[in-house]
């Protein structure tokens, strides 16, 4: 007796592929290691010599996300473009002809993996920050209490960073679905993330500068890490992560539409 394929079996198939593909676990490990290592290095190199030293301890602690997101992007791109590289996609779409189901299953598995790795990475960073920062002048006497997940803004920064990584993953998956080639897709995703800050730095017109920071997926999305001086930010924390979510949604819609319309 034949059963119609249901979403659960697509999910199971994607999970098996992700679990058994060579790079997945190494890349997830790399997400954790780069995020924690870069965060700890930045924290170790930052000093707060006096009160009001203009540093945001949460931002310093979670600076590793700046680099960890690149690994997440690579992982997300390989999740689908790897199938095009090997021709596996033909088999996948034969087994599950509903293409949106395939993409949704991939997105679900990717998000779950990134959420787990991101949570470990962020917790590791926060722990490193709690150990390192007080010795570098970030003391309660100077207005910097110990980083704590019981504190609202700190929790927002930490949980928001995990969410940020998950959204970067979806952005990468959507773009890779549309582009299909690994190298080109990685280039586009990294370009999208990292090119905006370069352009922004080059734009001295304050009007343009502000607008670029508001629409760039990286600078807007990372606003979620801010715990101080929110009024001075070009975009608020939740609005900022919303901008990144819009980018990710757009990429997933474009990828899904192209997957639906095109030949493999």
């Amino acid at each position: 007796m034949r059963r119609a394929p249901w979403a659960g079996s697509a999910l199971h198939a994607e999970w098996t592929k992700a679990r058994t593909a060579g790079g997945t676990w190494w890349l997830l490990l790399a997400v954790v290691v780069t995020t924690v290592a870069v965060g700890a290095a930045v924290a170790a190199a930052t000093r707060c010599p006096a009160a009001d030293c203009g540093q945001d301890p949460a931002r310093v602690t979670l600076a590793g996300i700046d680099l960890g997101q690149a690994v997440v992007a690579v992982l997300a791109v390989l999740m689908i473009s790897g199938e095009y590289d090997t021709g596996m996609i033909l088999l996948t779409l034969t087994a599950t002809p509903r293409r949106t189901t395939v993409l949704a299953a991939k997105a679900a598995v990717l998000t779950a993996l990134v959420l787990v790795a991101g949570t470990i990475a962020v917790l590791g960073s926060v722990l490193a920050g709690r150990v390192i920062l007080p010795g570098h002048g970030f003391t309660p006497a100077r207005g910097y209490p110990l980083l704590s997940l019981a504190d609202g803004p700190d929790l927002r920064a930490a949980a928001g960073s995990v969410l940020y990584l998950a959204l970067v993953g979806l952005l990468g998956l959507g773009i890779a679905t549309a582009i299909r080639d690994s190298a080109a897709a990685i280039g586009v995703v990294l370009g999208l993330l990292y090119l905006f800050p370069v352009v922004t730095a080059a734009a001295s017109n304050p009007h343009w500068h502000r607008h670029l920071e508001q629409i760039a997926p990286m600078s807007a999305g990372l606003a979620i890490q801010a715990t101080a001086g929110l009024r001075a930010l070009p975009i608020g924390p939740w609005a900022g992560i919303g901008v990144l979510a819009a980018w990710a949604t757009g990429a997933m819609l474009a990828g899904g539409l192209l997957l639906q319309l095109r030949d493999t």
């Binding site: 203009g54 600076a63 700046d66 280039g187 370009g191 090119l195 370069v198 352009v199 001295s204 017109n205």
Partner: protein, 492 residues
């Protein structure tokens, strides 16, 4: 019936390296997407230069400052109490104190007592009182001891230590023709020569006198990423001013005429019984870009390098991955079994293509970009033709190597473009990582005698231009070596 077997008109192997290059070039030029991508990379470099990104007010008010005897941009603002000296002669003075006022940055406006490291008070022989004219000076400084400085870029250390009433400093300048010799002394009897300056074309009648000045106060945040500051003022007290000629009347002049930010009435001089007290603000030094400067460099018009870099890196990666994806690699390696040579041919072809695209686009960007910046009123620091050629060729080389190896993007971003890292790690990143190559776009010189935020964000790199490029070359060699090793060991 006779059947003639098909014979390819192609020459039989083995094929030389030139054939391999020809094969790889054919592969590159016949994939339309790659050719378009390289064109797009070149276009990106040019477009970024032409987009009006940097605004300024130079075309309204004019802000090209004075130019020194060496043709370089200089700051030349100070309070000068002077009189003419015809022919040869010597001036001696005792500096008994140097105090100053710096802006109160926190807790509101106003000033507080304080001295910037390169605040200056001393004696000077200058060609004229116009800005940028040749000079030689002996000066005490805020925290760099006695210095002999001349013609803006030259700086020689004399007696160390701060000046106080208990330990004053005696300074002397002697003119003999075009040569000026500087001396210092702690007691006014035992003199030591600090240095000599040859000021070409010093007129026979020069202006000689006492001066004081104080460069802007800068305060960098702990991460060195944000800078605040404001003008400062320094007051020098002089006694026992001695001249070897029958001196005339002293005239006070605020050279440069600027008083911006300094409270009105601060600048000037007063004269007591054999003493002078002079307060000045500004600097006598080469003009620098960045926190203490006003302008941008020609590297500003090469902001698109980064966009071009990403595109070329992708094309470079696809140049080999596409072979695996299409299984072309088996044909390639059958035709040319020497795998190392195949990789070398690929690297040469993609590197040459990227270099050519980079050369054309960087040349257009530098030449036109400067015009756009100036048209917008931004002040662009002058760079010699040779420096501009180096920037263009160097940028093309960075793009060429980047097409071969990919991993240049992230360190550059972390260190230069959006400096999230503090200065220490940034410095190391730009010494060791492939992003060190961006030093090749540097046109500015770091002057120890000018306090400034010499950070990559403003175009000051820790390595010399070609040394930075060499670091990238080393990484490229390493990556290619690893690739050859793996390609030889693995199945195709």
């Amino acid at each position: 019936v006779t059947v003639t077997a098909y014979r390819s008109r192609l020459r039989e192997g083995p094929y030389g390296f030139a054939d391999l290059l020809h094969a790889e070039w054919t592969k590159f030029r016949t994939v339309r997407g790659w050719v378009i991508a390289v064109a797009a990379a070149a276009l990106a470099v040019v477009v970024f230069a032409l987009v009006p990104s940097q605004q300024g007010s130079c075309n309204v008010s004019g802000c090209a400052g004075p130019v020194g005897p060496g043709g370089e941009q200089v700051s030349d603002s100070f309070y000068f109490v002077h009189q003419p000296l015809a022919g040869n002669g010597s001036i001696t003075a005792r500096v008994t104190s140097l105090t100053g006022q710096i802006p109160r940055l926190t807790n509101g406006a106003g000033t507080r007592p304080g001295l910037v490291p390169w605040a200056k008070a001393g004696i000077m022989i200058k060609a004229s009182t116009s800005q940028g004219s040749a000079y030689a000076a002996m000066t005490v400084t805020g925290s760099h001891g006695v210095r002999m400085q001349y013609d803006f870029t030259q700086d020689v250390a004399g007696l160390p230590g701060a000046v106080t009433a208990a330990s004053p400093r005696w300074l002397r300048l002697t003119r003999s023709g075009d040569t000026i010799t500087g001396y210092d002394s702690a007691d006014g009897t035992r003199w030591a020569q600090v240095g000599t300056a040859t000021l070409a074309g010093l007129p026979s009648t020069a202006q000689v006198g006492l001066f004081a000045t104080s460069p802007p106060y800068l305060q960098t945040s702990a991460s060195e990423a944000s800078i605040s500051g404001g003008p400062s003022a320094a007051t020098g007290a002089f006694g026992d001013v001695g001249l070897t000629w029958r001196g005339g009347a002293w005239a006070g002049l605020n050279v440069g005429g600027g008083t911006d930010g300094v409270p009105a009435g601060t600048l000037g001089f007063s004269r007591g019984a054999g003493t002078f007290t002079i307060t000045g603000s500004g600097d006598i030094a080469p003009a620098v870009a960045g926190g203490a400067g006003i302008g941008v460099t020609i590297a500003q018009s090469l902001a698109g390098t980064f966009a071009g870099l990403i595109i070329l890196a992708v094309v470079g990666a696809m140049f080999i991955t596409a072979e695996y994806r299409r299984h072309m690699i088996r044909v390639t390696l059958t035709a040319a079994p020497h795998r190392g040579r195949v990789l070398a041919a690929k690297a040469v072809v993609i590197g040459t293509v990227a270099f050519a695209a980079g050369l054309v686009s960087a040349a257009i960007a530098v030449v036109l970009g400067q015009r756009v910046l100036r048209g917008n009123g931004a002040y662009v620091y002058p760079a010699s033709a040779l420096t501009q050629v180096r920037v263009i060729v160097g940028t093309a080389a960075v793009l060429a190597v980047a097409a071969v190896v990919v991993v240049i993007v992230l360190p550059y971003l972390l260190a230069v473009a959006a400096p999230v890292l503090p200065l220490g790690p940034t410095d190391w990143l730009l010494r060791l990582s492939p992003a060190a190559a961006f030093a090749v776009q540097q046109t500015l010189v770091q002057y120890p005698q000018v306090t400034n935020t010499y950070i990559p964000f403003y175009g000051y790199y820790p390595l010399a231009p070609w040394a930075g490029l060499a670091v990238l070359g080393g990484w490229a060699a390493l990556a290619l070596g690893l690739a050859v090793f793996l390609l030889r060991r693995r199945d195709a």
